[in-house]
């Protein structure tokens, strides 16, 4: 049984967190530095952006996670530490000064940065803030919230999720925090996700769980189709729940995967729903595709279509755009067997059957589409492949945030 709980990255035993304003961002009301620390070393795993241009923190984290062990995450917002000539040196130094201040090993520190691409990262504000950052670490909801705020950029709200679950009779906890799209000096929809758990699980199984999970969660989430240079998702397991360590597949691994998926799906919905300028969360629930890979391609094409996104902003039941997106997804599909419905808390309206339009009430459709969470349900007639993709609408504010912030 999985129960949703509060606490974010502090939901699991033995994790403390904090966040504060150190001065990388000019606006003093915005936190720009976060720290998450485990009492004991953790088994750890991570996945990174597939962009060939990679932020310097990713290069450092890859080295640090070679042994599958980590104990803390330090992350700044404001500067991405990407495409800067001194990037790797700065990321290494950031880990070292954090290790010195916390008394942990440098190679057990995970570093993160999000913000403008190009500028060199000034470490002085971080160095100066470390004592206060460390002394303020707490293991409660408030600690996680401060960390959530420390990694936010143009996110309008902090993002977290946590669950309790049971492995071999022991109560475990797993929680995460995330930042989505946008920068105060807008540059990049960098996604950062940090997940903690007190479950005992090997680094290998943790990597397996994470790598499998992201295919159906974070990799199915899109705000604007631009894959960031800094996307990172890290998970740390400190074993303090005292369960027999999960070292192989089986009932416990399956239960762990379910708990992880509950948290990651919640974070995906929060990231998509708070995409730059977004007024609506769009969820494409696709069924009946030839196979899983095809289903994912099709669902993602729908939430990535600029025309579908703009139609959702206008609460316009423009189903032809959904069919168009399915048609150019590059996936195998019998377009003459596609049904499309729009759903929300206000009801459900079917708009397309067997690839052609059917009569529907525009008024009813408008009512459905004016809600804040919209499901585009696509049923294909080709097989058993199912997938869900998350996105948001395309709005004036997206253009404003990314276009004319200097004018």
């Amino acid at each position: 049984m999985i129960h949703q709980i509060s606490g974010g990255v502090c939901a699991a035993r033995g994790f403390r967190a904090n966040g504060l304003h150190c001065g990388i961002r000019q606006n003093k009301t915005k936190k720009d530095l976060a720290l998450i620390v485990s009492e004991v070393p953790c088994q750890a795993a991570a996945v990174y952006t597939t962009n060939l241009v990679k932020g310097a923190p990713i290069i450092v984290n890859r080295e640090h996670l070679k042994n599958g062990v980590a104990q803390a995450v330090i992350c700044n917002s404001g500067i991405a530490n990407t495409c800067a000539a001194d990037g790797v040196e700065k990321a290494n130094t950031m880990a070292r000064i954090c290790a010195e201040a916390t008394g942990l090993k440098e190679e057990d520190i995970i570093v993160g940065s999000t913000g403008v691409i190009g500028p060199s990262l000034n470490l002085d504000p971080i160095r100066a803030a470390l004592p206060e950052l460390i002394s303020g670490l707490t293991a409660d909801d408030a600690g996680s919230e401060r960390a959530e705020q420390g990694i936010m950029t143009t996110d309008t709200r902090p993002k977290s999720a946590a669950v309790s679950f049971t492995l071999s009779g022991k109560e475990c906890h797993l929680g995460g925090i995330a930042k989505g799209s946008g920068m105060i000096h807008p540059n990049m929809a960098t996604m950062l996700v940090f997940i903690t758990t007190d479950a005992a699980i090997s680094a290998g199984m943790l990597q397996k769980a994470l790598s499998t999970d992201v295919q159906g969660t974070f990799n199915m989430t899109s705000v604007d189709g631009d894959t960031s240079t800094n996307d990172t998702c890290v998970i740390m397991a400190n074993g303090m729940a005292g369960n027999p360590r999960v070292d192989e597949e089986g009932a416990d691994f399956t239960a762990f995967m379910e708990a992880l998926n509950t948290v990651t799906v919640s974070l995906c919905r929060q990231i998509a729903g708070d995409g730059e300028g977004a007024t609506r969360l769009i969820e494409c629930a696709l069924s009946g595709a030839k196979d899983l890979k095809t289903a994912r391609k099709l669902a993602k094409a729908v939430v990535c279509s600029s025309l579908v996104k703009a139609a959702m902003f206008g609460a316009d039941a423009n189903w032809g755009r959904v069919l168009c997106a399915l048609g150019y997804a590059g996936a195998d599909l019998d377009v003459n067997r596609v049904d499309v419905s729009f759903r929300s808390s206000a009801g459900e309206v079917q708009v397309c059957k067997d690839g052609a339009g059917i009569p529907f009430s525009e008024e009813e459709a408008k009512k459905v589409l004016l809600e804040h969470e919209i499901e585009i349900a696509v049923a294909c007639g080709d097989g058993d492949g199912c997938a869900t993709a998350w996105g948001c609408d395309l709005t004036y504010d997206y253009v404003k945030i990314n276009g004319d912030y200097r004018t």
Copy 2:
């Protein structure tokens, strides 16, 4: 020698054109029907959308062009005749009534439609307008212009280009008209291009020329990344220039390809520059890629990036977004050898060298980017592959046109 001339589809000998308002569109000031007729049967070729969802006209044209012969094009705007149960029947009837009214063979008629997906196409207004449409055909610039207007939707200006050139000492002409992105009842960035020439060339060589050319022209043009269901480019050659027919590769075929390319590049620039809501034409000129395929992937990723497009709207020299787009293009690239410059009629500013930012004058960059035609010059260090891609900026008006037209 290729000379730019006026006349669009009427630049070549023996072609007449017309366009008028027949009533498919509600706004009576907007033409919604176009006709292009050759005095004699033409060798013809076409390329169509790769979208699995295809407009009914495409299905009919494929049949009609099996013999490589065509003599006229009839095209309406307002309704796309796509995803309608009676679509193919309507497209066939449209060809038949046009054939009856013009005295041509039904299988020599090319049909086109652009507009809303879903609704059934009412042929009554077309049937009623055919006599006037035919009697008004003229072989001059004005005839081509009326046809250009007849296929426009939310295009803000008609689009045409034409050249004269020489094949084996005979003066030939080649011209085309195009419509770009947007619908009065917005639905789809359907691109339609009709090209005529009086050069004598076989249907096979015409297909070869067109299929080769579009890879580097129309397929490198993007307004919003949504591949339409109705995209069509047709070329008709009536041979009235009297040159020895081009039946194989050689100097004449090369000269023909150059003439064709001059017209298609011009039409691409016109389509991109008049993309929905666009205020700027963005041209990505990419050199030094590993090979041609890689160059095309990279250049297209840059003009398709929502973040690059929004930055160009804001005249913001946000080169990190260009690097980011190159990085996720899915192409082989040494990101540490990439240089980026912004160019326009106001000057040139280099912003990135060897994958990292270099100091530049923001003021100077702003001046360059405030022009209406912007070149993003990307030099890679991997080989000889070069490509150009055309796009436009992402603006409030794009969202307006596609989002809230009902509110």
